[in-house]
Symmetry: C2
Subunit: 139 residues, 2 copies
C-alpha cells in the first residue's frame, strides 16, 4: 500500500475515514463516503473515486452501476489526517441514488423537520432499477 495510506489516521474509526466529495465546478458538496487504505489506493490509481461500503463490507467504485463516476481533480487531507476532501468532476446528472444532484437535498429546520429543497434531476429507478428489499444501492 505504501506510505500514502499509512499517513492517514484510519485507526480512529475501524479503518475508515470520511471523504467529502465536492464538485470542482461550483463547490457544492455532493456526498460523504468512507474510505480505507485500499479504496484510497484504487482512487489514486484510477483517478475515479472508490469508497469502502460499510453496509456491503467491500470496495465500491462510485458509478459502477449508474455510470455516474466521480473523476478526481484534487485530494486534500485535513490537519489530523482523519478526513479527506476530494474535489471531482461528477459525470452524469447527479450522485444521489434518490435522483438528486447532491445527497444533501434536505434541510433540517429548528423544529426537527426535514424539508426537500432541491429538485430531482433524474429518475432513480431508470438508473438503479427497482429497490431490492426496499433498499436501493448507491452505486
Amino acid at each position: 500500500m505504501g506510505g500514502t495510506s499509512e499517513k492517514l489516521a484510519c485507526e480512529k474509526m475501524g479503518g475508515l475515514i470520511p471523504a467529502v466529495i465536492q464538485d470542482h465546478n461550483g463547490g457544492d458538496v455532493l456526498m460523504v463516503g468512507f474510505v480505507n487504505p485500499e479504496s484510497l489506493a484504487a482512487t489514486q490509481k484510477t483517478g475515479e473515486v472508490h469508497f469502502f461500503s460499510r453496509s456491503r463490507n467491500k470496495l465500491w467504485k462510485k458509478g459502477e452501476t449508474s455510470g455516474h463516476v466521480l473523476r478526481v481533480r484534487e485530494i486534500r487531507v485535513d490537519c489530523d489526517a482523519d478526513a479527506l476532501l476530494i474535489r471531482v468532476d461528477a459525470l452524469g446528472p447527479g450522485v444521489c441514488h434518490e435522483g438528486y444532484r447532491s445527497c444533501f437535498f434536505r434541510t433540517l429546520d429548528g423544529q426537527g423537520q426535514l424539508n426537500v429543497v432541491d429538485e430531482k434531476v433524474f429518475e432513480s429507478e431508470s438508473v438503479y432499477g427497482k429497490p431490492v428489499n426496499g433498499k436501493k444501492t448507491q452505486s
Copy 2:
C-alpha cells in the same frame, strides 16, 4: 432531544455521524467534525456549531478557546441520514488549530506526498497557546 436526532442514523458509528462544515460565503469546505444527538441539539439551540470530541470524549463548542465560532446558516441531512452538511459564517480568520483558514490545507499527490498549498492566516500559538504534550486542541 425530541424527534430530530432520532431521525439520524447515529447507530452506524458508535453514536456519531460526520458533519461537513462549509463556508456559506464562497463554499469552501473548512473542516469535518463529528456530532451526536446531544451536540446537534446544542448546535440547533444556540445557532453555533457544537461537536462531540472523540479524543476528549465530550461535547465541544467550536471556538470555545479561540473565539473562532461557527454561526449556523443552514443544516442539511444526506439521503441516508448518516451525514450532515452545515453551512456557516466562520468568525475569526480560520478554523484550523494549525493557523489555516481550512483544515484541508494540504493536497495528497499521486506519489503519496502531502503538500501544503494554503497560506497561514493566523499564528496558532497566539490563539491556542503552546501545545500541551505536543498536541494542540482544536477549540
